[in-house]
């Protein structure tokens, strides 16, 4: 009846209390509080839901945990999570979930998607975690609610709401490689109104793993995040809210091109604005109207240092606009319905596209959350996306959790996920100036080939562009089965088995040969792959001050076509000693590149109640993974095609002063100074930081 309303009020009240407690006594009380309170998550169902009950795998990371570890950027936080791996890629630091590449995980801030991906990767260090309340991670396809991209999962960063009265804070961290992170925040909140402002500066002098080359591995950069949020309760039933976020980053670059130095600056700008109005019509119906506009721009100008002539000048402008209405309706106490609809307009204009390209799309989604008996929670839903360029998509999902006891919940879910062809795959028009190959998006292929033919650049056509199959969305069917076990306030143990069958993966393949001997590529729905594995995580309060934890993931990720080829005896390798060809066996195949079969982590946290001193140490192991094909068969199979497995040890030590208003912290990442300068370029070696955090709050 009124349950939902009460729950809603309760939830907002509770979360306020947590923040308030954090403000006064950052670390001491929260652990106890969080255990006692019902932890609430919103990302898995787009409605507030108890973490113990929600029937899909969800991880919840609180600001408190992040602070204890001395972490400030999203990539740092996610890299320590069980079942998540930050990939080393020249296009940015992105996350791998359940064996999926970063392109398949949607990154949200307060439920709204971030845009701006470089070949599918959204650089996670763009996102500061200094102004957040928590991070929620949903694993498994969530396209039934979020549409394209949410195929491996969703990472939702939930920013913090201010506490009552006037509050302000300063947080700094400085250390190795002149890396500095400074945040300032201030807020005012009354019963009906709040406004908060946040500013962050993140800069680094960069580093090099090849000092003799005189070239940086990561160039110096300087980034700013500005964030403002305001909310006003017009009456008991209606609230309006506005949030604005701006991010800009300048990064120098330096290359060696044909024995000449080239250098310049690249700028990245990200702007989001999101007004929202919520209205409670009655006890049963809550409506949310959300508008969202996001723009992402990059600009880079790289010139030869000797004569200032242009080496590369590029720009990229992307916009994303959305209007969405969601209705949450409590039909009965045990049956809640959610229905939403929205429209989107996206565009991109860039050096590598012929002209401004745009997409229009519309979607509707529906979800029923039903508890036929108290112990059983069934969620059924689906989303239908209609798109101006590619085929319409329907993404259903069915999930259920069953509480065998109040302490033990079984959960399982079955769902579909998809990822639409992106602008690049549809519209790219690119010719590599140095090597001479060309790549055309599906929509550009025919015109591109015709143009090259006219210029006499085509030697032979391999696939007539007019016969190309229309590019379809990549899609997956996934199954997750697991449990949550919480026998008392000391122990929390989760486990999950997963399987993802992915079809229609978009890959490049040659469609013509140019007179210079190079190929012309376009995009095709080619591969069929699957990933499967198991994940488990456990946290245990061993002694009053001592908490230990650990997590483990086993992962298999294989290309089905390669498996078929191996079964047919058509894949070969060379014996490294004799260099003679031999046939590959199933057991020789190492699966997809960049996937570690084994990853695990061990965590220890010690909090001295008396002094407030907190010590945290975490060891993260990433097992060996294939990173190249050395024997020319296109797959990973030989020992020299793998990296070594390695440990990263991160630690942090902090002590509060002035009744916890001030906290001094010492943080180290990669304490063992692990480096692999040939293969792993995102590991700069040992990093040491010192930090100061100051919080101020006046209630009247």
């Amino acid at each position: 009846m009124r349950l939902k309303f009460i729950l809603y009020i309760l939830i907002s009240h509770i979360s306020l209390q947590i923040t308030y407690a954090q403000q006064r006594d950052t670390l001491k009380k929260d652990t106890a509080n969080a255990r006692q309170l019902k932890e609430v998550v919103v990302t898995g169902t787009r409605t507030p839901k108890s973490l113990q009950q929600v029937p899909i795998p969800v991880t919840r990371i609180t600001a408190d945990e992040i602070k204890k570890k001395g972490l400030v950027r999203l990539n740092e936080v996610l890299s320590e999570q069980t079942g998540m791996t930050i990939l080393d890629d020249p296009h940015g630091q992105g996350i791998q979930i359940q064996g999926f590449d970063p392109a398949y995980t949607m990154i949200l801030i307060d439920g709204l998607p971030l845009i701006g991906r470089n070949t599918g990767i959204l650089e996670l260090s763009r996102i500061t975690t200094n102004n957040i309340d928590r991070i929620e991670i949903v694993k498994g396809p969530t396209s039934s609610l979020y549409g394209s991209e949410a195929m491996a999962g969703v990472v939702n960063i939930i920013t913090s709401d201010p506490v009552k009265g006037v509050s302000a804070g300063l947080s700094t961290r400085y250390g190795t490689n002149k890396t500095a992170d400074i945040s300032l925040n201030s807020a005012y909140k009354s019963d009906k109104f709040y406004i908060s402002g946040f500013a962050n500066r993140y800069s680094s002098g960069g580093y090099t793993l090849q000092p003799s080359s005189g070239l940086p591995t990561v160039s110096p950069f300087e980034g700013y995040t500005l964030n403002a949020k305001s909310s006003y309760k017009i009456d008991a039933k209606t609230t309006i809210k506005l949030s604005v976020r701006y991010y800009t980053n300048d990064q120098d670059s330096k290359y060696l091109v044909d024995n000449r130095y080239a250098g310049g600056t690249g700028t990245e700008k990200d702007f989001n604005i999101a007004p929202v109005i919520t209205h409670r019509f009655n006890d049963k119906l809550l409506s949310t109207l959300q508008l969202y506009r996001s723009t992402y721009k990059t600009n880079s100008d790289v010139r030869y240092t000797d004569d200032q002539s242009v080496y590369d000048q590029t720009y990229f402008n992307q916009t994303f606009n959305r209007a969405e209405l969601q209705n949450d309706y409590t039909l009965r106490d045990n049956l809640k319905l959610t229905a939403g609809a929205g429209g989107q307009y996206e565009s991109v204009e860039a050096t590598r596209y012929e002209k401004l390209q745009s997409f229009t799309s519309g979607y509707g989604y529906f979800q029923a959350d039903w508890l036929p008996v108290k112990k059983l929670d069934i969620i059924a839903g689906g989303r239908y996306d209609v798109h101006s360029v590619y085929k319409s998509q329907f993404s259903p999902k069915l999930a259920a959790s069953y509480a065998l006891s109040p302490k033990f919940t079984l959960l399982s879910s079955l769902g579909k996920g998809y990822k639409a062809p992106d602008f690049r795959q549809l519209y790219l028009n690119f010719t590599n100036a140095e090597v001479g190959y060309s790549v055309f998006g599906y929509e550009e292929a025919a015109a591109g080939i015709a143009r090259l033919q006219q210029q006499g650049q085509i030697e032979s056509i391999l696939i007539d562009p007019s016969t190309l199959q229309r590019l379809n969305a990549e899609s997956s069917t996934a199954f997750n089965l697991g449990y949550r076990y919480k026998p008392n306030s000391k122990l929390y143990w989760t486990a999950n088995l997963f399987r993802n069958n992915i079809t229609n993966l978009i890959e490049t393949a040659p469609i013509a040969i140019k007179t210079n001997g190079q190929s012309v590529f376009s995009y095709f729905n080619l591969n069929k792959v699957y990933t499967q594995g198991a994940e488990t995580d456990l946290t245990y309060q061993l002694l009053k001050p001592l908490q230990v934890g650990g997590g483990f993931q086993y992962l298999e990720a294989y290309d089905q076509d390669v498996l078929d080829q191996i079964a047919a005896g058509k894949v070969f390798t060379k014996d490294p000693v004799t260099n003679l060809t031999k046939e590959i066996k199933r057991s020789d195949y190492g699966g997809l590149l960049g996937r570690s079969k084994y990853t695990y982590n061990i965590r220890v946290n010690y909090l001295d109640e008396k002094t407030g001193v907190n010590a945290s140490i975490r060891a993260i192991y990433r097992g060996r993974y294939g990173y190249k094909d050395a024997d020319g068969n296109g797959i990973v199979n030989r020992d020299d095609e793998y990296t070594k497995g390695y440990f990263l040890v991160n630690a942090s030590l902090s002590k509060p002063f002035l009744k916890d208003a001030l906290r001094i912290q010492l943080t180290s990442q990669n304490l063992l100074n692990y480096k692999d300068s040939q293969v792993i370029l995102n590991l700069p070696g040992r990093l040491i930081y010192a930090g100061i955090i100051y919080n101020f709050n006046k209630t009247n």
């Binding site: 490294p576 260099n579 030989r638």
Partner: protein
């Protein structure tokens, strides 16, 4: 059950026989077959183009390189056949995906002669560029070159190494450009069927 055991025994011994056949080609070849197999080590192509005759198993030099006496020619990373744009002969070739041993019958069709830009033999190596071992020419596994010589005889050929002494290319010594053995030294093995059939048994 008994029948099954007998059958599997029979199959098993047949398999062993076959396997031993392929290991000792020159010993157990049937009388009618004129199959010769040979491994050529470090054919030196480092200074000049090298011409080779599969029927005689020898290098061809001097004035004979302008005749149809040779079958294949090594020039850097390119391997040519004696036809089309490469020579006056009618040698043809194609690449078959297989191990050397498993290829027991030559295809009867789809052979190509050399033409400008599209040689009959390509794709037998990869260039590593900037991945380790850097700037190396590595032979691609499973690329068996099948040659139909100017006088219509069939041969199969596997390129084993592009470097002197057929080194292990996964070692640090090979990765180091200072200690890497000299390139353009071809090690390869081939089986030449002198009876004119497509059989490599």
């Amino acid at each position: 059950m008994n029948k099954l055991t007998t059958l599997s025994l029979a199959l098993g011994s047949a398999f062993i026989l076959l396997a031993s056949c392929s290991k000792n080609n020159d010993v157990v070849t049937p009388e009618t077959s004129k199959l010769t197999t040979k491994t050529v080590a470090d054919l030196d192509g480092s200074t000049t183009n090298v011409y080779y005759s599969l029927s005689t198993g020898t290098q061809i030099t001097g004035a004979d390189t302008a005749t149809n006496k040779w079958d294949i020619k090594f020039k850097g990373t390119s391997i040519f056949v004696n036809s089309g744009t490469s020579g006056i002969g009618t040698t043809q070739a194609q690449i078959v995906s297989s191990t050397f041993e498993a290829l027991t019958v030559a295809p009867t069709a789809d052979y190509k002669t050399d033409a400008s830009g599209t040689p009959a033999i390509s794709g037998w190596y990869t260039y590593t560029n900037t991945t380790e071992p850097q700037h190396a020419i590595l032979t691609v596994p499973g690329k068996i070159i099948v040659v139909k010589t100017s006088d219509g005889k069939y041969a199969k050929l596997e390129i084993i190494s592009y470097y002197k002494g057929n080194p292990n290319t996964t070692t640090a010594e090979f990765a180091n450009l200072a200690t890497r053995p000299a390139s353009r030294f071809f090690t390869f093995r081939f089986a030449y069927q002198g009876d004119g059939t497509t059989s490599f048994k």
